[in-house]
């Protein structure tokens, strides 16, 4: 796993060929992103926002890994570091064994067509001045895949049909579409270059419930059809459960627990995961008052001055002295079957 852009890549899996389902295509290793806080007369850096701090996980071909947490936990920053919209401060991002964090802009171009991103806000992420045809054709043109008007428009029409848009609307502008349809345009654009991995950054959060379900079903269908891998970033636990094969829970820049969807939802061992799940409203009035509800005290601390040791300790009912002194490793120390970054990890059924 030490390969980077400058070493011999002949033994690595071919970049532009689909990996067999279930083989690792993305490995994030010790990823860290700190944003400097500047101010004063000389605009000096006086502190750092530790948005993401030493997180590691992997994504396999054809699977969905959910990245879940509340505001400021670093989930979106992680997504942006992976596609190199942000440059990581430390750490590595390996896509099929090639270290993206070390690549130059030019070298990133080759990889970008294999990793695409869909953003949360379908209003802000589409250029209002160009029509849908041009929005979807843009990545094709950039990579020289828009070969002539005839073949090019055929591909754009195919992509529109693939995401459930009417191809006859190809000359309309983004403002003529509803939120759900715009999100479909964003997905079509991301699929234009036939990528292997999609980073989905809260793709359904801005949509009404009925439309949200349409887009979720579309994402499931596309994954089956095209063998895509998803890194699904969201704060909504129900959506994450529905779509993900494995789930990583983040809190204040740390990854606190990582496991299969079943392990995280039915056998959570980190107190934060347990609190998060127990706070999620269940749309069934019969559960009212029947649940083991953990209401956390206080608010999320500032990421520019996070607590020492375990970052959750200031709100944790289990915290002891060791939690302030020692950062718990993300490991299965207690033998519960999946890694959990807590000195006192223990299963608790909360749903």
């Amino acid at each position: 796993m030490s390969a980077d852009a400058t070493t011999d890549t002949s033994e690595l899996p071919p970049l532009h060929e689909r990996s067999p389902l279930g083989t690792e295509i993305l490995r994030v290793d010790g990823l860290t992103k700190h944003f400097p806080l500047r101010g004063g007369l000389l605009n000096r850096t006086f502190a750092h926002v530790q948005a993401v701090d030493d997180i590691s996980f992997d994504v396999k071909a054809g699977e969905t890994v959910g990245l879940v947490g509340e505001s400021g936990c670093g989930k979106s920053t992680t997504g942006r570091c992976i596609v190199r919209l942000l440059d990581p401060t430390h750490g590595h991002v390996y896509f099929k064994g090639r270290d993206l964090a070390q690549r130059t802009k030019r070298q990133m171009r080759q990889v970008r067509r294999e990793i695409q991103i869909v953003f949360q806000d379908p209003y802000a992420s589409l250029n209002p001045r160009i029509n849908v045809h041009e929005i979807i054709a843009e990545p094709l043109r950039i990579y020289g895949r828009y070969r002539g008007e005839h073949d090019g428009s055929k591909r754009v029409r195919e992509l529109m049909e693939l995401v459930g848009l009417n191809p006859e609307h190809h000359n309309r502008f983004p403002h003529e579409f509803s939120g759900g349809q715009r999100q479909r345009i964003g997905i079509a654009r991301a699929l234009a270059l036939d990528p292997q991995l999609l980073v989905l950054d809260e793709p359904v959060s801005a949509l009404d419930v009925s439309i949200q379900a349409q887009v979720i079903n579309l994402l499931e269908d596309l994954q089956d059809q095209l063998g895509l891998a998803y890194l699904f970033i969201a704060h909504d636990l129900s959506v994450v459960r529905h779509l993900s094969d494995r789930v990583a829970v983040m809190y204040l820049g740390h990854m606190v627990e990582f496991g299969t969807t079943n392990e995280i939802f039915n056998n959570p061992t980190h107190p934060y995961t347990q609190a998060l799940l127990s706070a999620a409203p269940i749309s069934d009035p019969r559960h009212r008052g029947q649940r083991d509800r953990i209401v956390l005290e206080g608010d999320i601390p500032s990421p520019s001055n996070p607590p020492s040791g375990c970052r959750f300790r200031t709100r944790c009912w289990k915290a002891e002295d060791i939690c302030a002194e020692e950062k718990p490793p993300l490991a299965d120390v207690h033998g519960h079957g999946h890694p959990s970054a807590c000195h006192f990890a223990a299963p608790r059924k909360v749903l």
């Binding site: 009404d208 009925s210 704060h235 959506v239 939802f265 749309s283 009212r288 956390l296 608010d299």
Partner: protein
Amino acid sequence: MTEPLLSIEGLVTQFDTPDGTVRAVDGVSYDVYPGETVGVVGESGSGKSVTVMSVLGLIPQPPGRIAEGRVLLEGNDLLTFSNAQLRKVRGKDIAMIFQDPMTSLNPVLTVGSQIAEAIETHAPDLEDDAIRKRVVDLLALVDVPNPDDRFDQYPHEYSGGMRQRAMIAMAIANEPKILIADEPTTALDVTIQAQVLEVLKRAQDETNAGTILITHDLGVIAEMADRVVVMYGGRVVETGTVEEIFHSPRHPYTLGLLSSLPRPDTDLERLEPIPGQPPSLITLPSGCAFHPRCRLGNNRERCQFETPELIELGAGRRTACHFHDEMDEQVRLIEQATGAQIEIETEADDT
């Protein structure tokens, strides 16, 4: 049952727009009884917020106009009140909690002084010391830590959840008869949402106010509401107790919302979204506004041309669907498709 505290009867609110007159609220009726929570659900543009804004006389006129209806607060029609009379009602008999606590608190005044102002307005003879004591008690009631110090802090020194709890303190300061909460937790993270909902329940117990809880989140409704009003295209389409709405919906739109929803506590095979998108109020479909998206109606002529009346099925149980007697079958079909999500209440419950 006792007399309702608040009765909305046949309310119609229109807006003049460049594209014509829009009926944002079209004949809405519902009651609120002391101590109960009425949940109002619906997607964007369903008229759920405009209804309560009309009740409070907060609709800008023009372009808005309340064309028909009555709003009875203990027998008095609020729609006939002068502005001066309404000012005595708002914040005293009826209090409101808005979605965004940052924009509804004045940033240049301390939180304490703003709550004090709410008390002073309706009780001008009260001593300053007594008011301050009352405010500190209120802040303590809503779990604001160190309320005596927090009294003199500004909104920006509060966290998001704390600001929303301070808004609740302000709303219950004059022990209102009716508490209206419009998407009170939509802007908040789930662990913070749990804190705020807990405080809201406590505030309601303290004042025995009848509460109108407006939200698009069915999970929050399932946790909080006693009765539910479902709105679509400016009309009420179904009402019932929270159990009735979730376990034996009698309108296909309600069923569509439930089957669109992923759940944190269960694995569903598939979501069944409502096809199409919420209607624009300017070009509301003829007949039943839901008919273009309705599986049950399946474009039957009656649905296309005849607007269904809201008919009474039992005490407080109402639906606006021509074919509500076919709903059991519809629920079963959806159940099969999603992998059993909604269980029908059977006769077995009576034995």
